[in-house]
């Protein structure tokens, strides 16, 4: 069930109404059933995997609490790690590694007989396995106490707003909220609905309209030349931002209506003035997860310089692989790792230029440019397609800008350019003045009505999944 689907239009109000009508002691079980129904609507069999992951980590954490020392705790931690990462490996990475081992062995004339698995990738598996792993690791490290109530813990794992595409919540932030009794709060509901509206606008109006041009070019890269490839890449930068941050906004809005606070996942990432700053603003829940559970355990920056660079690079390499079982994602991660290493190498020398205002603006543009280069690999269907897109930049044809994609797409192209411009201006205003646009009450209602119809008229309503569902 997608957020932008007819089924959800019926599902969500029903959940909210019943939730607030129920006595507090039944709410968690009701939300859990609703979340399982939400997840099972993709494929019933997937439910068994999330229940397996839930039970493994629930019992591992309880056993860890009973252990007197870390050595004893470790075996339960390893059990949880192997179960969750094993699940991820089997469904997501097995065929990728099998294929690459096959190619390697073929090159030295050894025949690999291991068959490929014909398994569908369960939706959200990368998200909920990481969420449960953070819980068991935190219990192991003593940062959080294990949850004794299995219903509450199962709800933490499968809470439907953030189940399939995050934000990846930490147990110490989300679990305690399930023990609180929230009453119906009209202000929270209004705030949640506004956030959902903004999320739907970004997804249905901006991201899905941009997708038309991105798919055109990236699905047939050799048919297009420089300008078209550049525009498609630029469009993809905003498509993935609006798609993913739109989903996060909807998830946070839904949770807010129910009374829960989810963490902010995006903070205007394209206004970042460095790659480090970009990762403090983009997919915050994932970048902090990798920082806390991969980068810092490796030593972080508390090691010698070259080990520090290795830690940075390796963390991003793994982050790339998390996104998908394809070399394009590995290269994407490696590029970000490389950028960060280079940035750190020159950071001391660059500090003296921090006071020059126009240089800060140039840094924002430069950061955006190098991030866009990595998006080529992220979006391309294969490494060779990515290089085709990059090499297209040398091929320019004399085409009028508005007819770049043919006369039939003039209107859509103009709309997309207008939407991106409006989004960038809005985010710059919000960032610079640090406040939202405030309307008087007389303007608010017509504005909200106009906003709803802007989504309805300009939105694309064909079944477009959220990009991050494939991870």
């Amino acid at each position: 069930m997608l957020f932008n689907s007819i089924e959800f239009i019926f599902f969500f109000p029903l959940i909210v109404i019943i939730y607030f009508l129920l006595p507090f002691k039944y709410r968690n079980i009701f939300l859990l059933i609703g979340s399982y129904y939400f997840y099972a609507s993709w494929k019933l069999e997937f439910l068994s995997l999330i229940i397996f992951s839930t039970l493994v980590d629930y019992f591992s954490a309880l056993q860890m609490e009973k252990c007197s020392n870390k050595k004893a705790k470790k075996k339960y931690l390893y059990f949880s790690l192997i179960a969750n990462i094993g699940l991820l490996f089997v469904f997501k990475y097995f065929n990728f590694f099998n294929e690459n081992i096959r190619l390697l062995l073929d090159s030295i004339s050894i025949y690999n007989e291991i068959p490929y698995l014909q398994l569908l990738l369960p939706v959200g598996i990368s998200f909920y396995t990481f969420q449960t792993l953070s819980y068991t690791i935190d219990v192991y490290n003593g940062k959080t106490k294990p949850e004794k109530n299995i219903i509450t813990f199962a709800l933490y794992v499968s809470f439907f707003p953030q189940l399939v595409a995050g934000p990846i919540e930490r147990s110490h932030h989300l679990l305690p909220q399930f023990r609180k009794n929230f009453s119906f709060d009209p202000e929270r509901v209004k705030s949640g609905l506004k956030l959902m509206g903004w999320g739907f606008f970004k997804k249905i109006v901006i991201a899905d309209n941009l997708a038309v041009f991105v798919d055109m070019v990236y699905n047939n890269p050799s048919d297009y030349h420089g300008f078209q490839s550049i525009i498609a890449t630029l469009f993809f930068a905003f498509q993935i931002y609006c798609d993913f941050s739109g989903y996060s906004d909807i998830a946070i809005g839904i949770a807010r209506i129910l009374g829960y606070d989810l963490m902010k996942n995006f903070n205007m990432p394209y206004l970042a003035n460095s790659i480090k700053n970009f990762w403090q603003r983009w997919h915050i829940s994932l970048s902090t997860w990798f920082k806390d559970y991969v980068y810092i355990p490796l030593g972080g920056n508390k090691v010698i310089k070259y080990r520090w660079y290795y830690n940075l690079f390796f963390t991003f390499l793994i982050s790339g692989l998390w996104h998908g079982a394809n070399w394009t994602f590995v290269i994407w991660g490696a590029l970000h790792g490389t950028y960060l290493v280079v940035e750190n190498i020159f950071s001391d020398r660059a500090k003296r230029f921090d006071q020059i205002q126009w240089l800060n603006v140039a840094k924002v543009f430069f950061t955006f440019f190098i991030v866009c280069l990595t998006w080529v690999f992220f979006r391309a269907n294969s490494v060779s397609d990515a290089f085709t897109i990059l090499s297209n930049i040398n091929r320019f044809e004399n085409l009028s800008p508005i007819d770049l994609f043919g006369k039939n797409y003039r209107v859509e192209l103009s709309l997309c350019i207008g939407l991106i411009t409006a989004l960038v201006l809005y985010e710059m205003y919000y960032s610079y003045f640090n406040k939202k646009v405030i309307f008087s009450n007389y303007v608010k209602v017509p504005f909200y009505i106009a906003f709803v119809f802007t989504i309805l008229i300009f939105g694309k309503f064909s079944k477009q999944e959220f990009i991050y569902f494939q991870f």
Binding site: P186, D223, L415, I449, F453, I457, G459
Partner: protein, 334 residues
């Protein structure tokens, strides 16, 4: 809470009222400027004199000029699958005083490919003709088609900003050119030489995106269309419209043409004495300047093709008495 509910009610009511206004304005004023509705109006104006009706998709829409054939009308539309053609014809034949004698249908390589089967554009138009609930049942996608039905009936403007923009532009244009004459929508332009191969290859990949080129639902509705014509004692002519040589060769490389022909033969077998097939696919292989793109004729090509069609129809008509059904199946290869 009470204030919240009242605010919510007022907001919801405002949404409903604005929706009704927008839907009414879209259907009654803006959609009148679109080809589909203009063609409908033109058909209604001339229906008493129309004896030969051309139905089908853009191959027909851009390919046949009724000027060449007296008492004919081109009632095709871009993207029209056999599901929609069936419902359109069924709707037209509800009129007991219909003057129709002959129906001309397409029999192209892509006619039964599922690439557009669920893509019904312009719900505001089709919702009056097609049974969306039947289609939903047949496609096993009831919720999707039910949504399309209700949006076509009550909120047709949803997701149609481009149509709104183009209709407003047309409405406010001082020079309103007549885009269609007796349903014919000519297209200017020709296939570019520079990216010809890529364009044709993309077109074939679009039409035959997977191995299914004989979708069971489309074949069923093709059969239902033939049955409807036979029931109403209408003549049926099946035409394979001209395509470029590269398109034909690429497409026949993707599909098993013998299997295609066998399946079609199976379906038309009960009616073989009552219909005619005319194959023009290879007719203009040497005349790529007649084509707008891989598989559509441009205005020049359409003019020449229409004349050719007229000549063939004259020959066919000479062989039997006007009001009788044609006797014997004829497959005229050119």
């Amino acid at each position: 809470m009470k204030k919240f509910l009242i605010t919510g009610f007022v907001f919801g009511l405002s949404i409903v009222l604005v929706n009704c206004f927008l839907h009414y304005f879209y259907v009654k004023h803006l959609m009148r400027e679109t080809i589909l509705f203009k063609k409908e109006a033109e058909y209604q104006q001339n229906k008493d004199s129309i004896k030969i009706l051309f139905l089908g998709d853009s191959h027909v829409e851009t390919g046949f000029n009724p000027f060449s054939l007296k008492n004919s009308f081109n009632y095709s539309s871009a993207g029209e699958s056999y599901i929609l053609t069936y419902f359109k014809l069924k709707h037209l034949l509800k009129n007991k005083n219909s003057s129709l004698q002959t129906i001309v249908l397409p029999l192209d390589l892509h006619s039964f490919s599922p690439f557009r089967i669920d893509n019904i554009n312009n719900d505001a138009y089709w919702v009056n003709l097609a049974d969306y609930f039947e289609i939903g049942g047949v496609r096993d996608n009831r919720l999707f088609f039910a949504t399309k039905y209700f949006s076509g009936r009550f909120a047709a403007y949803i997701g149609n900003f481009k149509e709104i923009y183009l209709a407003l532009k047309e409405k406010n244009s001082p020079n309103k050119e007549k885009k269609s004459v007796m349903g014919f929508t000519p297209r200017q332009g020709s296939l570019l030489k520079s990216n010809r191969v890529e364009e044709i290859s993309n077109r074939v990949n679009y039409h035959f995106f997977d191995s299914t080129y004989l979708d069971p639902t489309l074949l069923t509705y093709f059969q239902k269309t033939l049955q409807l014509c036979m029931k109403k004692r209408l003549n049926v002519i099946l035409i394979k419209y001209p395509v470029t040589k590269e398109y034909f060769e690429t497409a026949t490389g993707k599909i098993e043409i013998s299997n295609y022909d066998r399946k079609i033969e199976q379906i038309i077998e009960p009616y073989k004495n009552s219909l005619i097939i005319i194959d023009y696919q290879k007719y203009y292989f040497k005349n790529s300047d007649y084509f707008l793109d891989a598989d559509h004729l441009n205005e020049k090509g359409a003019q020449i093709f229409s004349e050719e069609l007229y000549q063939n129809f004259k020959e066919l008509r000479a062989n039997y008495v006007k009001s009788d059904l044609p006797s014997g199946k004829r497959s005229v290869q050119n």
